[in-house]
Symmetry: C2
Subunit: 242 residues, 2 copies
Amino acid sequence: MVNWFWRKGAKRSWVDAPKLRPRSEDSGSATRVDLAELAPHREQFLAQAAYLQLVAFEGLSASVATAPDLAAKERLTRAAAIALEKHHALVAEITRTGADAATVMQAHSAGIPFFQHATRGDTWAESLVTTHITGGILDDFFVRVAGGLPDDLERRIRAIYASASHEPLLSEQLRILIELQPTQAAHLAMWGRRLVGDTILVARSALAAPPSSANDEARIEPVFTELIAAHTRRMDALGLTA
Amino acid sequence: MVNWFWRKGAKRSWVDAPKLRPRSEDSGSATRVDLAELAPHREQFLAQAAYLQLVAFEGLSASVATAPDLAAKERLTRAAAIALEKHHALVAEITRTGADAATVMQAHSAGIPFFQHATRGDTWAESLVTTHITGGILDDFFVRVAGGLPDDLERRIRAIYASASHEPLLSEQLRILIELQPTQAAHLAMWGRRLVGDTILVARSALAAPPSSANDEARIEPVFTELIAAHTRRMDALGLTA
C-alpha cells in the first residue's frame, strides 16, 4: 500500500517535476485523488503555507516600492496588507502549537528560496504577474490540502484563506497595465505560463510524500490539472493566453 | 505679523536647513514655540504623514526581504505591519475628507522622494537604523504638530500614532545586531547622526510655512531641539553615540 502520509525527513526531488497535461480537463473523476488524502503533517502544512505567504508579501512590497505612481502604490499596499495578515494568521497557528514559527518555517523551507528566486520578475509588470499567478495557484492548493487537517484546524485555515484575497487588487492593476501597454500582453502571457512549473513544483514539495510510482503520478495528475484550470481562468480574466 | 499658516503654493527651500543645536537642551521654555502653532492645513498634514508612513513601510519591507534569517524576518514583518496599518489609517482620514489619497499625497510630496533616497542605507544594518531613527523623529513630529488640527481630527491622529509603534521591534533587532557585531557600532552611530539633517528637513517642509526670518528661526529651534533630545535617547538605548 502506498504511504501517502508525511514521512519525516523524506527528500523531495526537484528533478521529479509533475508531468502535467494543462490543456486536458477530461481526466475523469474516477481516477481523482483528492489532495486532502495527501495532506502533510500539521506542522509542515502551516510552515510552508506561512512561508509562502511571506514570499507573496515580499513580492508585493517590492512592487509597492517600484510602482510608477502613488495610485498604484496604494492599490498594492492593500494587497501587501492582505498577504501580511494571512502570513501572521498562519504564524499564529504555528505559535499555538507551542513551536517557534521561524524555526519551524526554516525546517520546512526546502525549495522555497529556490522558488522565490526562480519566479522573481525582472520588471514591475513581471513581478505583478508572478505574485498574482503563483499566489493564486498556491492559495487554491493550500485550501484544498487543508481538507486533510484536523477539523478545527481545517476550519480556521479555510477562514484565513477566505478572509480576503489580493487577487482582485492585482488583477485590477494588471488590467490597467495591459490596457495602457497592450504590446506587453504577449510577453506577460509567456511569463505567466513559465511560472506554472515552478509553482506546481513548490506545491508538490508541500505534499505529505512525493508520489512514488508512475501509477501514483497518474492518480495525482487530475488534482493539479484542476489547479491549472483555475490558473487558465485567471489568465483569461487578464486577456492573456494561458 | 508672521503668517505661520499654510500658504498655498509656498515653496519650501531645501537650502533653508535648520540650524540645530542638538547638544543643547537648555534653550529655555520662555522662547518656546509649540509646533501646534505651525500646524499645516489638514490636507497637507494628512498627505505628508501618510506618505512618510508609506516610506517607513517601504524601508521595513525591504529589510524583511534582505533579513539574514527567518527570526529577523518575523520581527520585521511585525514592524512592517504596524507602519502599514498607520499608513492605511492616515489614508482613511484623507478619504474621509472626500479627497483621493494618491492625488493628495502626490500634491504634497515635495521633498519626500528626495528624503527617501538620501536616507536609504547601503546595508541591512544601515537600513534598519534609517527606519528606526527617521521613523522615531517623524512620528514624534507629527504627534506634536497634530495639536494644531481640529479637535476631533487631532484625537483620531493621536490614536493612530499611539496604537502601536515599530520602535521596540526595531530597537530589539538593532540591539541583537550590535551585540553580534560590536565593530559595526561606530559606523552605525555615524550613520544615525547623518540621518538627522535630512529628517528634520523633511519634517520642516511639512510645517504650515517655513520660518521667514532669523527671529522665527530662533523661535522654532527649541522645538526641533526637543525632537533631537528624543533622538539622542533613542540612540543611547542602542548604545550608540548620538
